[in-house]
């Protein structure tokens, strides 16, 4: 089967030839199968945003190739635009990009740029609003009158309305309260399942990632440090530490319990799993 994303020897250098030259990505090779839900984590400045902006042709590789659904993004530079719709990208703090008079028009901006019919646009806007868990009443409101969390959802809906086969989100939960965070992640998982979409989630939060993804890629200083299932990645706390990251808090609790001699399994990375183990320890009683 064709891979959703295939990156070969990707290098990206910013401001080449000036005193500010930075190598943000160096010789990265990485691929994602159709329908995978991948978490990309890494310390500030490790190159996460730079990497994902190659997947819809916003950034051009300094060297190396990026293939999306089997097609080289930069094979024909004039055709790059079509990849914007295939790989939908939600930027960090997407609420700052809202600009239309009504929420409806703002969500319709993407589909309109795709050249869809009005009826199709309406259908997609309604669907997208449902996917992010907003009530359709707000469609006629001004986006500037929404609450912070609603703005964030409206902005995400603006990308979902393009029905991208690959959905990429750059820290979609930054600055939200725990409830809002869980809720947005839940809706993203729903999009992943219902549309059989490939989803890439960039985040700093181990908790976010432990709950939702089935694969984790760790970036460190422009290189891939490790890549595997959450279980595999979280089994190497020392390696994560060297990249300025750490395992989820519950896992740390269990690692410490183990150190103290408790007979626990340390491959625990969500609260639910922790509860199960602890209750098993107490003989099945919660």
């Amino acid at each position: 089967m064709v891979k959703s994303i295939e990156v070969k020897n990707l290098t990206h250098v910013y401001s080449a030839g000036t005193p500010f030259e930075t190598t943000a990505l160096s010789d990265i090779s990485f691929s994602v199968e159709k329908g995978e839900f991948v978490g990309i984590i890494g310390h500030t400045g490790s190159g996460k945003s730079t990497l994902i902006q190659h997947f819809n042709g916003l950034k051009k590789p300094t060297s190396g190739t990026v293939m999306i659904e089997g097609e080289d993004v930069w094979a024909n530079p004039r055709d790059v635009k079509k990849f914007r719709f295939r790989a939908g990208m939600v930027f960090q703090y997407p609420e700052y990009q809202l600009f239309e008079e009504t929420v409806f028009l703002d969500i319709a901006f993407g589909p309109k740029n795709m050249g869809l019919k009005q009826s199709e646009i309406e259908e997609r806007v309604l669907e997208a609003v449902e996917f992010v868990g907003l009530s359709p009443d707000i469609l006629e409101k001004s986006p500037f009158d929404l609450s912070g969390g609603q703005k964030r959802r409206a902005a995400i809906a603006g990308v979902i309305a393009m029905r991208p086969g690959i959905l990429i989100l750059d820290e979609p939960t930054a600055g939200l309260d725990p409830r809002g965070r869980d809720d947005i992640l839940l809706h993203i998982s729903e999009y992943h399942k219902k549309m059989n979409a490939t989803v890439l989630l960039v985040t700093h939060s181990m908790e976010d990632i432990a709950k939702t993804v089935n694969r984790i890629t760790v970036l460190s200083r422009g290189k891939i440090l490790t890549d595997g299932t959450p279980k595999e990645v979280f089994s190497e706390p020392e390696l994560l530490k060297s990249a300025g990251l750490s395992v989820p808090q519950v896992t740390r609790v269990f690692l410490r319990l183990r150190e103290l001699g408790a007979p626990v399994d340390t491959t625990v990375y969500t609260v639910e799993q922790a509860v199960k183990q602890l209750s098993a320890l107490r003989g099945g009683k919660v």
Partner: protein
């Protein structure tokens, strides 16, 4: 595209030019402009060029950077040159229907282009080597006498400091918003002029909203620290003139005088 804007950008360094008092650098830039605009004949221009080359080499600013600042103005430079070549009356060298190329036209165009290039590279050297804070401090101190006639010098320089401070932030913000809209299929590069202008509203509206938000936040932050204008304010870094400053000033005065006089003599 946006990265090409080098205006107001400061490149830190520790050369003699970087360490000069900003007042001296401002006066020097002013003298340089005076010299450039009163320059007549090749010797005067040569002196200005020599002056620029000397200062640039001491400041260690890369020549490529100096030329980069010219890129956004290429159109104006070419336009000036063409206009001067064709519309200056004088001895005709070449005629093609209604177009005349004159000897005087070519000479004038050449001098105009040299003048613009020297002007822009010379003045951008000032911002390349002086941090915005130093620059506005310098301006404030130079304009201080105007306080006597009730010019709000401190407020003006504070406004300028803030404006300069926010240029890179706003450029960065513009890029971010442009990328976000491009990701939704916005097209800023094709279509006719009217369409392109219309295509800017998805960028300009969020940009204005965020600029106002930033202004608001900054105002609150300043208020919280009891900012109340210039009266009785002291500085973290008091500026004082050193021997190097006086020598540099003398050097600039000599060059200006030479450039003005050379036009009269030769």
């Amino acid at each position: 595209m946006l990265q090409d804007i080098t205006l107001g950008q400061y490149f830190p360094g520790s050369t003699l030019i970087h360490r000069l008092d900003p007042r001296v650098k401002l006066v020097a830039a002013f003298l340089y402009i005076v010299a450039l605009f009163s320059a007549q004949g090749p010797v005067a221009y040569g002196l200005c060029l020599l002056w620029l080359v000397l200062v640039t080499s001491v400041s260690k600013v890369h020549i490529r950077l100096m030329l980069k600042g010219l890129k956004p103005l290429l159109f104006i430079i070419i336009f000036t040159a063409v206009l001067n070549v064709f519309y200056t009356p004088g001895r005709i060298i070449y005629e093609f229907y209604f177009l005349h190329i004159t000897y005087e036209g070519i000479a004038l165009a050449f001098y105009m282009v040299v003048r613009i290039i020297l002007l822009i590279t010379g003045t951008s050297l000032l911002t390349y080597t002086t941090s915005p804070i130093m620059l506005t401090d310098g301006i404030e101190l130079l304009l201080n006498p105007l306080k006597k006639i009730k010019v709000p010098v401190h407020e003006l320089s504070m406004m300028m400091t803030i404006a300069l401070r926010f240029i890179p932030t706003l450029i960065e913000e513009t890029e971010k918003i442009m990328n976000a809209q491009k990701a939704r299929g916005a097209d800023f590069e094709s279509g006719r002029l009217i369409r392109r202008i219309k295509a800017l509203s998805p960028v300009l509206i969020p940009l204005f909203v965020s600029a106002f938000r930033r202004a608001d936040e900054l105002a609150v932050a300043m208020e919280c620290r009891l900012y109340r204008g210039g009266e009785g304010r002291t500085r973290l870094k008091e500026l004082s003139l050193t021997r190097a400053d006086y020598y540099s000033l003398a050097f600039c005065l000599v060059f200006t005088a030479l450039a003005i006089l050379s036009g009269k003599i030769f």
